[in-house]
């Protein structure tokens, strides 16, 4: 079985601060991490591999420094790591990104064989778009299963997989066939403390670089210039002001005051 995981290196959003004077993000000193959801995608792929045997490949599109995230993925038990890196990719929006990743994935398939399961995180914590996975799945024209919280069953003979996913009103179990594309939530698994042999293999592994020269990626479909969406402006939201501390002496008065303050909102929502 061959599993391919899409991972993105992101700035740790929880450490990004806003400079309200200049309206920009302070990214200096913010560590670059593997998008947390993607780590669970890696973990899930490695678990499936351990159970059914096979190989796990990962790919990331990003600048050369994203290599460190690939190394980390390798140390979690991944077998092959690919860095899709080229100047022409800079500034790609989700349509262009999913195009490049799709083309990159095809190159990996050429090298390492057909992929049975593609995995990605449900969304990246920097952009929060949750679009890249659906985009790639559509280009491959394979079944897409988003927001997966568990993989229940895999039948290698029938080449089917049962996945539990979140929906608005609860959860549903889907059965689909290989190849398929799954985007995962955090609760799909707990990330294990990787065994030492994985780390040693990762330290020895080399990362393969993919770019417009060694793949069939059409550079007229990538990058800022060729992305349909453009950023007109970026600005910081109004700083959330510290609100009101309510203390009206007695608890009853305090709570009554609170209620009066939110009554109209409750009305608008049709709660009362």
């Amino acid at each position: 079985m061959h599993l391919l995981v899409f991972i993105k290196q992101v700035p740790d959003a929880s450490q990004v601060r806003v400079n309200y004077n200049t309206g920009t993000l302070i990214r200096e000193g913010v560590p670059a991490i593997i998008n947390p959801f993607d780590k669970h995608a890696i973990e899930e792929a490695v678990r499936i591999k351990e159970k059914f045997s096979g190989t796990v490949s990962v790919i990331t599109m990003g600048p050369p420094m994203a290599e460190s995230s690939l190394k980390e993925a390798l140390s979690m038990g991944v077998d092959n790591a690919y860095l899709l890196s080229d100047r022409v990719f800079a500034g790609s929006d989700t349509l262009a990104t999913s195009y490049a990743l799709w083309a990159g994935a095809k190159k990996i398939i050429e090298e390492k064989g057909d992929v049975d399961i593609f995995l990605s995180g449900k969304q990246a914590i920097d952009g929060d778009t949750a679009q890249t996975g659906p985009g790639i799945a559509t280009r491959f024209d394979i079944p897409l299963v988003t927001y997966a919280i568990a993989i229940k069953d895999i039948d290698l003979k029938k080449r089917t997989i049962e996945i539990v996913r979140l929906i608005e009103s609860g959860a549903e179990t889907i059965e689909t066939t290989f190849p398929c594309f799954i985007t995962v939530e955090e609760e799909i698994n707990k990330i294990r403390y990787a065994p030492l042999p994985y780390l040693i293999r990762a330290a020895r592994a080399t990362i393969k670089i993919l770019n417009t020269k060694n793949t069939k990626i059409d550079s007229s479909k990538c990058g800022l210039k060729n992305s349909p969406t453009k950023v007109k402006k970026a600005f910081t939201p109004q700083k959330r002001e510290r609100g009101e501390m309510i203390n009206k002496g007695s608890m009853q008065d305090t709570l009554n005051f609170l209620y009066e303050n939110i009554e109209s909102t409750l009305k608008d929502m049709g709660k009362i």
């Binding site: 403390y193 990787a194 030492l196 042999p197 330290a203 020895r204």
Partner: protein
Amino acid sequence: MKRKDFDVIIVGAGPSGLAAGFVLAKAGVNTIIIERGKFPGSKNVMGGIFYTKAMDDLIPEFYKEAPVERHIIEQNLWFMDDVSHLGVSFKSQKYNSEPFNSFSVFRAKFDRWFAKKVEQMGALIINETVVTQPIVEGGKVVGVKTDRPDGDLYADVVIGADGVNSFLAKQLGLRNKIKPNIVALAVKEVIGLDKEKINDRFQLRSDKEGAAYEMTGPFLDGMEGMAWLYTNSSSISIGVGVVIQDLIEHKTNPNDLLEKIKAHPSVAPLIEGGQTKEYLAHMIPEGGYYATPKLFTDGFLTTGDAIMFVNNVNREGSNLAIESGKLAAKTYLEAKQTGDFSSKSLSRYQDKIRKSFACKDLSMYKNMPKLLEEKRYFLTKYPQFFIDFVYDWFSVDGVSKPDKIKKAKKEFGDKFGYVNFAKDLYAIWRYMIR
């Protein structure tokens, strides 16, 4: 057949472990370095003054490529009381030429760079993994256990470069528990400041030149310790280290001491307007020569801070760590020729250490700790007297200069006694110079 995963396992990717790894990997030895931090240097967030020589021997002109801050062209030693400082200052343009005597560095950056070099030489560095104990078979160290699943590793030789707390040396019985009188607790801050401001305040002509200050004296209330301040590219490092025993006895907290130093009228203007960017507390072995534990056993060598290889008088540590790492690696290479990694074969390491400049330096200062323990007033009363005298000397108050000298002579005689003073001078000579 006996299991063997690597030729050498190095525990700890500090300067000494990395130096050992560099030499070994360069000689084609199959080497792995295990580091518990997220990356080399991450546990040692801040830096220090890095003396060039040992590293330059290893990687010539490393400073052209490595992340260094400023090369130091001025060194100051200040004796301070609460309101004054009496300083000795040395600045020389000789320090402005390559290969430079010393640099200020940030360990997180520097060690990371060094680690890359070591990896390029072919050693494996495994981060985020803690070595929990040595594996000993038949009285010989044959590997280590780590906290990872499937985490045992076997090798011909293990090098313990695991820093001042060295669990390995302790577990192997090479050293005793560190006593509070031979370790200092250091606290340190990095204060961000504009390059131009630093150049102005410290009279430096470019942001490559740097200055360093060491401070001691009565403001420490008789505790044995040293404060320091030096310039980085666009920040200032300031810190203080005090022997733990003294902290306990004086019921003092090093953070308060650091605040006191930052507020000192001679120091405050140097750091004014800066913003604290990082904060660190760490132990420094201060035991010097006598604290050095046994350096080896069957299949095992230990280096750097783990052998208390720190010259606390001249604030050297990382360069000595590098030196000892190199020597450990060379010892291994020699032993490899015969395939004998027994204690006897590895004992060559001890000789090498003895012959090194570092050990000679340590030997020179070997009685310092003891001397200071006995004659604590070296740090308090003498400096205070001289500060007061200088103050008096420069004050124009109607008393003639000859009279001032006369008065001082008398006071000195009353306070210390000339005979005692002579004895103290002799003691210093006997303890240190001889």
